[in-house]
């Protein structure tokens, strides 16, 4: 044990030491200080104004101004994308935001809109006149004029035309004549900015009331009415006028568009920089809102968590801020005591980041608790590989993960789809999974379910030279076992499944017992680190004894049975260990003294259960009464109490009542969970067998029933088709679905069976105020 004490602390095993610090900044240097701290990204500010609404905070006006400016910038981004101007962000230049330039650009944008609307109207007008002219819609003999028949002409969206006509019919009670013709080209609708089909129409009616009704309906439907004179030469004149005006307006519009595009292009290269700057400013003001003013109203006081190793860097940043803001007074930075639990911070690199996130997805570690990610880096891909074992599929995974890793820089800077992002984030996990899959595939001797004779000759041969009884009595083993992995002669034999099932089930139990023991041992190291001898004596020791006297013993029996080749029935042994401990073992005897050993282990297991259940609550109660002796009176609410309570949030001392029944029930739940969990968790590891069997069977089926079947035919087309179907089935079902499935089950084995032996996972993550995190969040 002393050996473990002398070792240096291991990286990633426990979260970083954190300190609660207090900053006192003069107002003039506050903004600089906070933005330099944001660049550094190592301080998590506590919100000291948590009970205030957003409008009661100090810097609310500045925050509003920043929001307003970011709204304007978004408007520009919209305009740029609508105008189709491509801009190239220029990250080098750092110009200050020029508000006048922004305003000018905005004005151009709105002027543009007006011109577009005017143009549309004229175009519509032209069309209506042209069409009516062309289709002789106004072909009326003289008598109609005398009859007082009048008409209204206009243009309406094609989609609304039918309803429009029906409405007019109903409104005028059928006393109208409606004629329409398509307008030809598409016209740009100024409201929506899209190109729509329009129809020219003309409505003949009589009477004034009908006229007003029709005009109102036209207005409601957004149909534009244009007057068309009846005589031919007047029409020609009008067309000529309209065309002239149209060409003028088009020229103006072109010039306007040119000018606008130039302005947008010049803004566009700066737009991204400005957006980032505004975002940073807003976040700085949000952070400043979390600080308190002190009594003199000249300084801002803030509290926050920072890692202990980062304190010199933070001091340096604050010093820089003091210099750059030309402040006379330096910023005060000092430690504070706290009684609340600090946040959890692990300094991960790009390799360990994915594994840490896998563990954090279950629960963020409590402050300075043993981190299962250290072991998960290896055991998670290993358990995955036990379920996935096929070195052909492993090679495919390796290829895929290498592609992701070699193009790391390029893929890291682009925006990826959600599936690719997950795959890219887990590229190192995939790499390790691939390596272990290749290893396990070599052990199971499966390459797309084909065995190979890589490591030498098989250990089995026929009994007689003509192999006459190979199909009935089978081969015999004449040499040492196959040196590495499963003997290739097993594949395809009739007794393959009984052998492999027995092997894989026993393997699952052995691996499971080992991982659970590792979990319990980690709880020992946790208890030692936190100076908790109670946990060691009354939790760790009975847990180890219970688990190993039952399932450790089973693992031992498995190994002994393998080594001696005995025919003992282990189910029988385990069950009758409980049902009939004094009975004779008979042919299930594996070693001398087995009965006595079994009785001893049974007694140890039975003793271990009350050992982990009863002593701890009583001892805790005794300790509590000793510590808080004499403080059994409640607090009186006098004015003297207020001096003890400082406005800082982290210094509250709680007088905890010791609720014995709660502690006892908690301990009982914990013990029951462990005892029952020992059986269920061990059985849960059998999923290693189940998934590995499923993978192997699927692989065999695809190989035999797709590839071999197709290869049996002589035709090249059928062979290629078979190969293609085999490739698709392997890629989608085996590589994608099985990978996800094995990943999920390996994850469950870690999260539940391994971590519930020692992990609490009720901490909170360290979220520093950092501009880089802001940029990532936006994306």
């Amino acid at each position: 044990m002393k050996f473990f004490n002398d070792l240096p602390p291991m990286d990633h095993f426990r979260s970083e030491n954190m300190s609660l610090v207090q900053l006192i900044m003069p107002v003039e240097s506050a903004q600089h200080a906070v933005s330099y701290l944001g660049e550094l990204g190592l301080l998590q500010f506590k919100d000291l104004n948590g009970d205030k609404s957003p409008f009661q905070r100090t810097f609310v006006n500045q925050v509003k101004r920043c929001s307003e400016m970011s709204r304007k910038l978004r408007f520009f981004a919209d305009q740029i994308s609508k105008a189709g101007v491509t801009t190239y962000p220029n990250p080098d230049s750092e110009e200050v935001i020029d508000l006048e330039q922004l305003e000018a650009g905005r004005f151009l944008g709105s002027a543009q809109n007006h011109l577009v609307m005017a143009e549309t109207e004229l175009v519509e007008n032209t069309y209506s006149i042209k069409n009516e002219d062309r289709l002789s819609l106004l072909e009326q003999p003289e008598p109609s004029k005398k009859a007082g028949l009048r008409f209204i002409s206009g243009i309406i969206c094609k989609s609304k035309e039918l309803i429009f006509e029906r409405m007019l019919f109903r409104a005028t009670r059928g006393n109208m004549f409606f004629n329409q013709a398509p307008a030809g080209e598409q016209v740009m609708d100024p409201v929506s900015g899209e190109m729509v089909h329009k129809t020219v129409f003309v409505v003949f009616f009589s009477g004034d009331q009908a006229r007003s009704k029709i005009l109102k309906i036209c207005q409601a439907f957004g149909a534009n009415c244009y007057p068309v004179p009846e005589e031919n030469n007047k029409q020609k004149q009008l067309t000529h006028e309209v065309s002239l005006r149209l060409s003028e307006l088009e020229a103006t519009l072109d010039a306007g568009t040119c000018h606008r595009n130039k302005a947008l292009a010049s803004i566009g290269s700066q737009l991204w920089n400005w957006t980032i700057m505004v975002k940073k400013e807003k976040s700085v003001y949000d952070t400043l809102n979390m600080l308190n003013f002190d009594v003199t109203k000249k300084c801002l006081v803030g509290e926050g968590w920072c890692p202990t190793f980062a304190k010199p860097q933070i001091k340096e940043a604050l010093h820089q801020a003091t210099i750059h803001s030309n402040s006379q007074v330096g910023i005060i930075f000092h430690d504070m005591d706290s009684s609340e639990s600090p946040p959890t911070y692990f300094r991960t690199n790009r390799f360990t980041n994915a594994f840490q996130e896998i563990v954090d997805a279950y629960g963020v570690a409590r402050f300075q608790e043993a981190n299962p990610a250290v072991y998960s880096v290896i055991t998670f891909p290993f358990l995955f590989a036990v379920m996935f074992g096929d070195w052909g599929h492993g090679l495919c995974l390796l290829f895929g993960s290498l592609v992701l890793i070699l193009r790391e820089k390029k893929l890291g800077s682009q925006k990826l789809g959600s599936f690719m992002e997950i795959a890219f984030g887990g590229r190192y996990v995939l790499l390790l999974m691939a390596f272990f899959s290749i290893y396990c595939g070599l052990i199971y001797n499966e390459f797309f379910s084909i065995p190979f004779y890589i490591f030498g000759e098989s250990a089995y041969k026929c009994r007689s030279t003509d192999c006459s009884d190979a199909q009935t009595a089978g081969l015999i083993k004449f040499r040492d076992p196959y040196p590495f992995g499963v003997d290739p002669k097993w594949r395809g034999s009739r007794s393959e499944l009984p052998f492999l099932n027995s092997l894989k089930m026993k393997m699952s139990i052995l691996l499971g017992v080992c991982q659970m023991n590792l979990g319990i041992i980690l709880s020992y190291f946790d208890a030692k680190f936190h100076g908790n001898p109670l946990d060691i004596q009354y939790q760790f020791i009975p847990q180890i004894i219970f688990l190993n006297s039952l399932f450790g013993y089973l693992a031992l029996l498995i190994v002994i049975k393998w080594c001696t080749g005995s025919q003992a029935d282990l189910y029988h042994v385990m069950i009758y260990m409980f049902l009939d401990p004094f009975g004779n073992l008979g042919e299930n005897q594996l070693f001398w003294g087995q009965k006595e050993l079994q009785m001893l282990l049974l007694i140890l297991a039975v003793v271990a259960v009350p050992w982990m259940l009863f002593p701890k609550p009583f001892i805790l109660k005794k300790q509590h009464t000793e510590r808080f002796q004499g403080r059994t009176y409640g607090f009186l609410g006098t004015s003297e109490m207020d001096l003890d309570h400082e406005p800082d949030s982290a210094r509250h001392q709680h007088q905890e009542d010791f609720n014995f029944s709660e502690v006892f029930v908690h301990q009982m739940i914990h013990s029951i969970e462990f005892v029952l969990g020992a059986v269920s968790n061990t059985a849960s590891y059998l999923r290693l067998w189940a998934l590995s069997l499923a993978h192997s069977e699927l692989s065999t089926v695809f190989y035999e029933k797709l590839l071999l079947l197709a290869w049996g035919y002589d035709s090249i087309i059928i062979r290629i088709a078979g190969l293609a179907v085999f490739a698709f089935a392997t890629a989608f079902i085996l590589l994608m679905m099985e990978t996800l499935s094995a990943f999920l089950h390996a994850l469950r084995l870690h999260w539940v069976e391994f971590m519930n032996k020692f992990y609490h996972g009720d901490g909170y993550k360290f979220k520093p105020f950092s501009f880089k995190a802001l940029a990532d969040e936006e994306d």
Binding site: I443, G474, P481
Partner: protein, 70 residues
């Protein structure tokens, strides 16, 4: 090759891997310990996998019975 011989080969491979990692990726005592933990875990996992499969085939209770179409 026997059980002991191959186990010694696994042990030696673990030793060599940890020495190589210490030479190439020497980054301070705590990180070295982390790397060593990873190597030890990997070696133990790989050895266990091999040993389980080897021991299971040492004195088998059933033998391969070939199927018809061989």
């Amino acid at each position: 090759m026997g059980f002991m011989a191959t186990s010694i080969i696994f042990f030696a491979a673990g030793l060599i891997a940890s020495l190589l990692v210490r030479l190439c990726f020497n980054r301070g005592a705590s990180t070295n310990l982390f790397h060593l933990t990873l190597i030890i875990t990997a070696t133990v996992c790989c050895w266990m996998m091999w040993a389980i499969v080897y021991l299971a085939q040492l004195k088998p209770l059933i033998v391969p019975i070939l199927s018809e179409a061989e």
